[in-house]
C-alpha cells in the first residue's frame, strides 16, 4: 500500500512536440480551408481536418495542467491544481488498458497505452503513457485493485503483462 502521496505529470518534451505538431496542423488546416473556399467538397473536407487538428492541439495544451495523484486511499485527477475527479481503490469497478499503435510499434515498445478506471458512481479517470513513470502507475493501479472484484477484459490483461505486471 502506498504510504505517501505521489504525483505524476505528462512528459514535458513530449507535450511540446505534440503542441508544435498540433499548431502546425491547425495552421495548415486553416490555410487549406481558406484556399479551398470556392470548392465546397474540399472546403468541408479541410474543415474536418482543421477541427481534428484543433482538438489535438487543445488536448495537448490541456495535458500541461493535468496531474495524477495517488495515495493509500485512491487516485485523483487534478487540473491546474484543483481536484477534478477522485476514485477510491475500494470503489473501482472496472479497469481497462488499451494499446494504440501498429504491430511493429508494439514490438519496439512504442505506440500509446491508455488506462481508464471507472468506479461504481461512474466517475472516470483516464490517462496515457505520455505520463512520466506510466508503467509504475499502471502497476500500482493494478495492484491496488486486486482485492476487489474489478472488471478487466482479456485485452487489458495482456497489456498489463506488457508493462511488467505479474499476473
Amino acid at each position: 500500500m502506498p504510504t505517501e502521496t505521489k504525483s505524476y505529470h505528462y512528459h514535458r518534451p513530449g507535450l511540446h512536440g505534440d503542441l508544435v505538431l498540433g499548431i502546425s496542423g491547425l495552421c495548415a488546416g486553416l490555410v487549406f480551408t481558406f484556399a479551398a473556399l470556392e470548392t465546397r467538397f474540399l472546403f468541408f473536407l479541410f474543415l474536418v481536418v482543421t477541427t481534428l487538428a484543433l482538438y489535438f492541439s487543445a488536448n495537448s495544451l490541456r495535458r500541461y495542467w493535468i496531474e495524477i495523484q495517488t495515495d493509500d486511499k485512491g487516485i485523483k485527477l487534478l487540473s491546474r491544481g484543483s481536484e477534478k475527479c477522485l476514485i477510491k481503490w475500494s470503489e473501482v469497478k472496472s479497469i481497462k488498458l488499451r494499446f494504440f499503435g501498429s504491430k511493429s510499434q508494439r514490438e519496439k515498445g512504442k505506440g500509446t497505452l491508455s488506462l481508464t478506471m471507472t468506479d461504481q458512481n461512474k466517475a472516470k479517470i483516464a490517462f496515457e503513457s505520455g505520463l512520466v513513470d506510466f508503467d509504475e502507475l499502471a502497476r500500482l493501479c493494478f495492484e491496488q485493485t486486486q482485492d476487489s472484484s474489478v472488471e478487466m477484459d482479456a485485452v487489458s490483461v495482456g497489456n498489463f503483462e506488457a508493462v511488467g505486471v505479474r499476473l
Binding site: P13, S24, C27, A35
Partner: protein, 394 residues
C-alpha cells in the same frame, strides 16, 4: 590576403559571399527581364520556365562532383573556368536571344557557374570566418540569394528603359570579369569539401534518414512554390494587374528586400536545433498565410501579403540550412546537407515549369495561388512531425 588577428580571412570571406551573390544574380536576372523578353521573342511559356529549371537539373547532377572538386587542389582553376563559362554564355545570349534553343544552351552554361558558386560561396565563407565571426558569416551568407535578386531587379529598374533587358546580361559580363580579376589576385587556401569525400565511415541511422526525408520534403515543396513565385511573379503583375514591366519590378523588389532583412537575424538566432525548427514552422505559417491573403483583391491585403511573403521567405531557407545540424549534428552535416539539396533542386526544377504549363493551359492565377498556399502548408505539417521526432523523446 587580408587576415586579421582574430583569424578571419576577410578577403576570402567577401569573395565567397560575392561569388554566391553573383550565382543568384545569374539565375534570377531572368525574372525582371522575362516579361520584356516574352514580348520581344514570344518564347513558349514552358521553354521559358525551363530557362530557370535547367539550373536545377545541372545543380542536381553536378553537386556531388562539385563537392569533390572543391576539396581538391585546383579550386582557383575551377573558379576561373566557370567564370569564363558564364562570360561566354552571356555573350552568346546577347547576340542570339531570338532563339529559345540558344538561350536555353546559354542558361545551361550559366547554371554550371551557379552550381559551383552556390556550394563554393558558403563553403569559402565558412572556412574564411573564425569561430567568433562564424554566426555572422552564416547570417550574412544566407542573404546571397535575395541580394543577387535585388541587384538584378534594381539594375533592370534603372537601366532597362534605355538599354532593354540585355543590360542585365552586360552586368553579368562585367561581374564575370571583375571576379576573374579578384580570383587571379587572391591566394586560395583549400576550402573544406561540402560532401562526404574522405569520410567513408560516416553513415546515417534509420531515424536520421527518416528525419532527413521529412526535411528534404519540406525543402522540395517549399522550393516549388518559391521558385515558381520568383520566376513568374513579374509576369503575373504585368499580365493580370496591368503594371508596366519596369513598375512590376518595384512590386517584385518589396518582398525581396524584406527577405534580406529577415535572413540575417534568423541566421544569428539559430543557437539550438529547437529554435531552428520553431523558426522553420513560424516562417512556413507566415508564408502560407501570405498566399491566402494574395487571393483577396484588396490593395492593402496585397501589400501585407507581399511583406509577409518576404518575411516567410527569409526565415524558411535560413532555418532549412540549419536543419542538417539539428538532425545529425556537425560531423555528418555535409552528408545531410547534400541530401536536402536534392529536394531543393527538384523544387527549383518543377516550380517554374509547372506554372509555365498552368499559364499555357489558361489556369487562373487564383487557382495557382490556392495550390501554392496548400503546397506551403503541407511542409508545415512535416515541420511539426520533424520537431516531434527530434525533441519529444529525451
Amino acid at each position: 590576403m587580408t587576415t586579421k588577428s582574430d583569424g578571419t580571412n576577410w578577403n576570402l570571406f567577401f569573395f565567397g559571399f560575392f561569388i554566391a551573390v553573383y550565382a543568384a544574380f545569374l539565375q534570377f536576372k531572368l525574372t525582371p527581364a522575362l516579361p520584356e523578353m516574352m514580348q520581344l521573342y514570344s518564347y513558349d511559356p514552358a521553354v521559358a520556365g525551363a530557362f530557370m529549371s535547367v539550373y536545377a537539373i545541372i545543380g542536381f547532377f553536378l553537386s556531388p562532383l562539385i563537392g569533390r572538386w572543391l576539396s581538391g587542389q585546383k579550386v582557383k582553376q575551377l573558379i576561373l573556368a566557370v567564370l569564363v563559362c558564364s562570360f561566354v554564355a552571356q555573350g552568346v545570349a546577347i547576340f542570339a536571344s531570338h532563339s529559345s534553343v540558344i538561350m536555353l544552351a546559354s542558361r545551361t552554361m550559366e547554371a554550371i557557374t551557379f552550381a559551383v558558386f552556390a556550394i563554393g560561396g558558403p563553403v569559402i565563407v565558412g572556412q574564411a570566418a573564425s569561430e567568433k565571426f562564424r554566426p555572422l558569416g552564416i547570417g550574412i551568407s544566407s542573404t546571397w540569394m535575395p541580394s543577387g535578386i535585388l541587384i538584378s531587379s534594381v539594375a533592370y529598374y534603372w537601366f532597362a528603359d534605355d538599354f532593354g533587358w540585355s543590360v542585365l546580361w552586360y552586368f553579368g559580363l562585367a561581374g564575370a570579369l571583375s571576379l576573374l580579376l579578384w580570383t587571379v589576385l587572391s591566394n586560395f587556401n583549400k576550402p573544406q569539401a561540402a560532401t562526404t569525400a574522405g569520410k567513408p565511415s560516416l553513415s546515417l541511422t534509420k531515424a536520421e534518414e527518416i528525419s532527413l526525408l521529412l526535411a528534404t520534403s519540406i525543402f522540395l515543396l517549399w522550393s516549388i512554390q518559391f521558385n515558381a513565385y520568383m520566376t513568374w511573379f513579374t509576369t503575373y503583375v504585368t499580365d493580370t494587374l496591368g503594371y508596366h514591366p519596369v513598375d512590376a519590378v518595384w512590386v517584385f523588389m518589396l518582398p525581396v528586400i524584406v527577405i534580406i532583412f529577415a535572413n540575417v537575424p534568423v541566421g544569428l538566432a539559430q543557437t539550438t536545433g529547437r529554435i531552428t525548427l520553431i523558426l522553420l514552422t513560424v516562417g512556413l505559417v507566415i508564408q502560407a498565410l501570405s498566399w491566402v491573403l494574395g487571393l483577396y483583391k484588396n490593395e492593402t491585403f496585397q501589400v501585407i501579403a507581399l511583406i509577409a511573403y518576404g518575411i516567410g521567405a527569409g526565415i524558411v531557407p535560413a532555418a532549412l540550412f540549419g536543419c542538417p545540424k539539428a538532425i545529425v549534428g556537425s560531423e555528418k552535416y555535409a552528408m545531410a546537407f547534400s541530401r536536402m539539396m536534392t529536394g531543393r533542386y527538384i523544387g527549383v526544377f518543377l516550380g517554374p515549369i509547372l506554372i509555365g504549363i498552368a499559364i499555357r493551359q489558361d489556369i487562373s492565377w487564383d487557382l495557382v495561388m490556392g495550390i501554392a498556399a496548400i503546397m506551403t502548408a503541407i511542409p508545415l505539417i512535416f515541420a511539426g512531425l520533424l520537431y516531434k521526432r527530434l525533441y519529444s523523446r529525451s
